[in-house]
């Protein structure tokens, strides 16, 4: 029996192609529909497989705008049992440290044996929320997991960690935080019954006060980082797009590469 909490973040759907920055140079989260951050879906898939094997349940934990509750439904449709969403107008424009404090405070009220997080998010991309939460909660931190083997009896977890030279096998006592990678396996599609069931599952929405964090410690007003400027990456050199059907296109590609002595 494993109780697993998974950190998930609603992020702008990059497939929509309509992402844009607001006047404060931060992402305009109203501009495009939100989806569950892709790396978090891998973490959730890993969690679901673990509870299928060991029994138990999965709780989603998120800090987001109030519309985030709907995004969490996708995770509930995939098979998580419940969601906890911290949403508070004060939190708009939060820095990473604020986010870490809020999530850590929230997790103090959630019972879990394992805490899973994605490697990073497609919007911010800092990749430090997972380790930050582990640090604040005093949890063992196991990074870049390609395989997660918990032993609920012995209260330990063993992780195959991707390293520059191959793999490390590391072990820690439970509860522990594991940062997941895509090597854990493709996220499942929600089944139709899962989608129906998700409509009646609980998403508890909490305010900053509910999780016991002072506005002096979290939120846009006390952000430790500031966006000074934003610019587009330098344009790539002229691109030639070949759109002809396969055999003709292949010939053009080969000719192009041959011209440059690549092949």
């Amino acid at each position: 029996m494993l109780r697993i909490a998974v950190l998930v973040k609603p992020v702008p759907d990059t497939a929509s192609g309509g992402e844009r920055l607001g006047p404060d140079l931060r992402l305009d989260r109203q501009a495009v529909p939100a989806v569950v951050n892709a790396n978090d879906e891998y973490a959730l898939e890993a969690a679901l497989k673990l509870v299928e094997a060991h029994g138990g349940e999965v709780t989603l934990v998120s800090m987001a705008a109030s519309a985030g509750a709907e995004t969490l439904r996708k995770g509930l449709a995939m098979g998580a049992q419940r969601g906890v969403l911290v949403s508070d107008p004060t939190l708009a424009g939060s820095c990473t440290l604020s986010t870490v404090r809020v999530l850590a405070a929230t997790l103090r009220e959630v019972e879990f044996d394992l805490l899973l997080a994605g490697a990073d998010t497609s919007d911010g991309g800092g990749g430090v929320v997972g380790p930050g939460v582990a640090a604040l909660l005093g949890l063992p931190y196991l990074s870049y997991a390609a395989k997660i083997e918990p032993d609920p009896e012995a209260r330990t977890v063993r992780v195959r960690r991707i390293s520059p030279t191959g793999f490390d096998v590391i072990e820690a006592p439970l509860p522990a935080l594991v940062v997941c990678t895509q090597a854990l396996g493709e996220p499942r599609y929600p089944s139709l019954k899962g989608i129906m069931a998700a409509r009646t599952k609980e998403v508890v929405t909490k305010s900053l006060a509910d999780v016991g964090v002072s506005p002096d410690d979290a939120g846009g007003a006390v952000a430790t980082t500031k966006v000074l400027d934003a610019s587009k990456p330098a344009a790539r050199a002229a691109t030639r797009v070949v759109r002809d059907p396969a055999p003709a296109a292949a010939k053009q590609l080969v000719a192009f590469l041959a011209e440059r002595k690549v092949v």
Binding site: Y189, L192, I195, M196, A246
Partner: protein, 389 residues
Amino acid sequence: MTPAETPISYRLTQEQELLRDAVRTLADDRIAPRAAEIDRTAEFPWDIKELLASQDVLGLPFPVEYGGVGGELLTVCLAVEQISRACATSGLILAVQELGALPILLAGTDDQKARWLPDLAAGRTLIAFALTESEAGSDAAAARTRARRDGDDYVIDGAKRFISQGSVADLVTVFAVTDEAAERHARLSCFVVETKSPGFKVERLEHKMGIRGSPTAELSFTKLRVPAGNRIGEEGDGFRIAMRTLDRSRPAIAAQAVGIAQGALEVAARYAAERKQFGKPIGQLQMIAGMLADMDAQTEAARQLLYKACVEIDAGSSQAGRWSAMCKLVAGDTAMRVTTDAVQVLGGYGYIDEFPVERMMRDAKITQLYEGTQQIQRLVIARSLLRRV
């Protein structure tokens, strides 16, 4: 609808939108990449059947108490539409599962439902619908396959033709004559036949123009024994059960047609936006733009008629036959026209198999033929109209 009834929303419910979008994602990611190969090999896509089963899509037409999802007719059609938008053969897997099971759903006893529906809802078994014979197509009441009572069994002899998925099904609902002397519409009875029964044989598979991955079988029954408990409804109810089944199943074929049209429209629009001739995308040439606009408007019109028909049929409309015939007629003709125009928009590229529109055009044709030809739909509509004069 009487004025006293609470008006229902004219939009899809949030639940229907969620289910539709989930099936669309599945179709885009997992089914569309297989469509060309399914067509080329003309092999039944067992992997897609497993996918639809594991995601509960095959459970849509079945009540929750039998392990299904309990979707309304409209929800089933939304799913058939989205799958068919990617692959008409794959869309037919769901449509035929519903078609074959409808006699049980509409006229089966609680025991019969408990016996067959859970496996069908889970997609562990497949079911086909066997009404048509070589000499009894549009004139279904002229069927010659016979079922003779023998103690606690019936003994079935005869043959059925053009049976979708007849060679891959575990069960077939077979319509056979139990009373030769009865009046035309009281001759037939309906039986659930297990295809592993001795005397059941797949004689051959047809080589078809479209929906090539969906096996269309000629079935023969030789002294095939079926327990009387497998008879659906009373003796002589068969024709009535078949017609009630078709009232509810034709919308799924209309949904297949709308899906095919939508798929072709999207390919054509994308192509027209990218393909340049005379220095600009061909979509900016007015003759192409006009074709695309007509294709879009016609597809949307067919879709809206289908959705309305589903809601009316589910609400128990006394004109279910008319609604189902109209939506199949309009959607089938639209699919044929839109796919033909899609090939035209793509020009030479539309005629070769590097683009999917030639497949879609071949697939569209069947929607004008099966579950009643367009001519039969017109007869049904006209009769209903004249009755009301």
